[in-house]
């Protein structure tokens, strides 16, 4: 036997590592520093490379893929501008804890620091927005670095990892050795929560009269939706979710209170204000959820379960922290509860709040409303589509009106609030999800931020349903201008500058419709849902001045919600 290992180039090692990590897709864009990788890619058949039209698009696609599957999304771009174009997507993945690995080309090591052509210090640039990053300085480190990158991105609190690959490292040759296991002495995420803390939490639930589960994206990431369902159902606990948490618990279940926070439901926010016990599960007390932190769940005993210790006591001081994987902690917590709390009165109160201020919108003037379209979509798909949104009013209406029934079906940019996220993320989802309709609900503003990716969607014939909620305004900004900035609609009116979206789609050979009548909505939606030969785009022309209600003004207590637009008569 020849014991000497085969010599491999950096490029060969790169793809062999990706194969061993089970990578199916790479979202990428070629360029000078990664030419060797693309040369090799030409002959690689076990990984599909998806050619994007802008590197930011690639990162959002990887995010969409990762959020829909739980697997690591992979991006490959060149050095300099290729790398810097990924920055927004990386920051987005960091804020929403999405596992992606971004491979960036780099100039040869001997030129680093020389202001070489297409050089950018991407490790320096991305240091504050990555979970970790690596500059591979020698080919001997390549395989173990890739292994570490995937491990770090996907474990603990997931996040983006950047691996910077100098051109000469990729071109050089070495023996291939892929570590089976890796041991990082500075990184050991804690899986199991502290037993005594869990026992104490169980006791608090049993004693409580007005408990509330406050569920974040961590539950979905940990795959803990079943554990959540059991914990909530067996103990009859009300469940409210953050934007990223939607889908963790069925939205059509009577125990779901919907979303809480700035645009949360009245009853969810009232439940927060009045509960005596709040259990945060994989959520991070974001300012869009808490409003003024001093008054958030003021009288409640607060339990916080999170895998990331830095989240605990960061925004809101809690009474009982449990560091661990929320999936395991919920299972143990459910097992510890022996006596179910009696919550009859609490539920009566919650039902009363639901009656008092339901979510509502008014179409009596005959003009189309986004809420109606989203409600219809929720009905037609029975909450079983993957809904990818952009950022803004339409995103909040989706959160309010689309009843997500399954985890990993709500794909949205929460923490960073990245306009332009929707279309590329939906493309990423379309490569991962084949058995559900994929809806890209976007706004006329956000859509235009990454609309170059229509090429990608059309070229790969992805059955994405692109629904533009077109109010000819940067609607959310307009809403704030109306409510808080003296109605100065400064640079938010797009009506004179928006393109004809139908013609635009047609230029990409994408089927498209424009809808402005209420009666046309349902038939067009049905047609779009049945069309699977490629992308389809519908431009819904909705009322310009509509606003998302309820709204908690920034920095206010969530008890100070504005429920609806005041009628001029009411104001007198």
């Amino acid at each position: 036997m020849n014991t000497k290992k085969k010599q491999m180039t950096g490029a060969d090692i790169f793809f062999e590592c990706l194969r061993r990590e089970g990578v199916e897709y790479i979202f990428g864009y070629p360029g000078g520093a990664v030419l060797k990788l693309y040369e090799k890619l030409y002959d690689v058949d076990f990984i599909k490379h998806i050619l994007v039209r802008h590197e930011q698009g690639a990162t959002h696609m990887a995010e969409g893929y990762a959020k829909a599957t739980g697997k690591v999304g992979v991006v490959l771009v060149t050095s300099g501008p290729g790398a810097t174009n990924t920055v927004t997507g990386i920051a987005d993945a960091y804020m929403d804890s999405v596992p992606i690995v971004v491979f960036t080309g780099q100039v040869p090591t001997h030129l680093i620091g020389n202001d070489a052509f297409q050089e950018a210090d991407i490790c320096g640039i991305t240091r504050p927005i990555t979970k970790h990053n690596f500059l591979v300085r020698d080919i001997s480190e390549l395989a173990s670095t890739i292994k570490q990158a995937f491990y770090i991105a996907s474990t603990g609190r997931p996040g983006p990892v950047v691996v910077d690959l100098p051109k000469n490292v990729i071109n050089s040759i070495t023996e291939f050795h892929y570590p089976e296991k890796i041991e990082l002495r500075g990184y050991k995420p804690r899986i199991y929560g502290h037993q005594n803390q869990i026992k104490k939490a169980a006791m608090m639930i049993q004693k409580s009269k007005r408990p509330l589960l406050y569920v974040g994206g961590g539950v979905i990431m940990s795959g803990g939706h079943r554990e959540l369902y059991l914990l909530a159902k067996e103990n009859n606990l009300p469940v409210t979710m953050t934007l990223q948490g939607l889908g963790a618990f069925p939205g059509t279940d009577p125990q779901s209170l919907g979303m809480l926070g700035m645009h949360g439901t009245y009853w969810a926010n009232q439940a927060v204000n009045n509960c005596d016990l709040i259990i945060s599960l994989g959520a991070r007390f974001d300012d869009r959820v808490t409003g003024k932190v001093d008054t958030f769940a003021k009288n409640a005993y607060k339990i916080h379960v999170d895998i990331d210790p830095t989240c605990i006591d960061k925004n809101v001081i809690v009474d009982l922290p449990i560091v661990g994987d929320v999936k395991h902690v919920m299972a143990e917590l459910a097992a510890e509860i022996s006596e179910k709390p009696d919550l009859t009165e609490w539920w009566e109160q919650i039902e009363a709040w639901k009656e008092e201020c339901p979510l509502e919108y008014d179409m009596s003037d005959g003009r189309l409303r986004a809420q109606y379209i989203i409600e219809k979509l929720s009905e037609l798909t029975r909450g079983d589509a993957v809904v990818v949104t952009d950022v803004g009013q339409h995103q909040m209406w989706v959160a309010q009106y689309y009843k997500f029934n399954h985890p990993r079906t709500n794909i949205t940019s929460g923490g960073l609030g990245t306009m332009g996220f929707g279309l590329p993320a939906a493309i990423g989802v379309a490569f991962a999800v084949k058995d559900k309709p994929i809806l890209c609900i976007t706004g006329d503003g956000g859509f235009q931020m990454n609309m170059q990716e229509l090429t990608t969607a059309a070229y790969y014939k992805l059955p994405i349903k692109i629904f533009i909620i077109n109010n000819s305004f940067l609607g959310m900004v307009r809403q704030w201008q109306e409510l808080f900035h003296a109605e100065k609609y400064s640079f938010t009116d797009l009506s004179d500058s928006n393109p004809d979206f139908v013609k635009l789609a047609e230029a990409f050979d994408i089927k498209a419709y424009s809808v402005s009548n209420i009666s046309d909505v349902e038939p067009v939606l049905k047609e779009a849902l049945e069309y699977n030969d490629g992308p389809i785009l519908v431009d819904f022309k909705v009322a310009k001045e509509d606003m998302v209600f309820p709204i908690v003004p920034a920095g206010a207590s969530i008890s100070d919600m504005i429920i609806r637009r005041l009628d001029p008569k009411e104001m007198m």
Partner: protein, 177 residues
């Protein structure tokens, strides 16, 4: 108040930068920072002096722990410890003041490490208060230049190896309350 945080970090490219980036990204103050190799050449020890309320310090320790390249973080502020700083100070002298300065140097148990016909350079080590006092006393003679090393600190009383490993575990994952 000032806190002394001792951090064991991977002795590799970018680790120091990551720690400093965390401080600047989160808006925390660094009063002084020093770094050097330890008994294990793959590990460096950073001694960071920082300022903040208890809640801020707790976050700093957690954020430092969260970095992949940090191995162990200890807030030494309330622990028995030895802390030292090195001062190199160049002081001007005239006829008559030279011996006074040398006296002061002896009182502070320092060394004269350089001399020319205008200045003396003193090397003084000690806790920060002692360094401050030395600077204060030397002030009237005309200080030309100062270099301070920043604080280094070690906890008193050797832990047995076994214990300190167990500590790495608990410190890293952090039971918080």
């Amino acid at each position: 108040m000032l806190h002394v945080i001792s951090a064991l970090v991977e002795n590799k490219f970018g680790a120091f930068n990551r720690v400093v980036t965390m401080f600047s990204a989160k808006g925390y103050n660094i009063h002084s920072i020093s770094i050097g190799e330890t008994e294990d050449p793959t590990i460096s020890r950073m001694t960071i002096v920082t300022e903040g309320e208890d809640k801020v310090i707790e976050q700093i320790v957690k954020q430092l722990n969260r970095l992949i390249d940090t191995i162990k973080i200890v807030d030494l502020t309330y622990q028995p410890k030895v802390q030292r700083e090195l001062l190199l100070i160049s002081v001007g002298y005239q006829k008559g003041t030279r011996s006074e300065i040398i006296d002061i140097c002896e009182i502070f148990r320092g060394n004269i490490v350089d001399i020319n016909n205008r200045t003396l350079m003193l090397e003084i080590t000690g806790p920060p208060e002692k360094i401050d006092a030395a600077i204060n006393v030397l002030e009237p003679y005309g200080i030309k230049e100062i270099a301070r090393s920043g604080l280094v600190a070690l906890r008193r009383g050797e832990q047995s190896r076994k214990n300190s490993e167990a500590e790495i575990e608990t410190n890293k994952v952090g039971e918080l309350k």
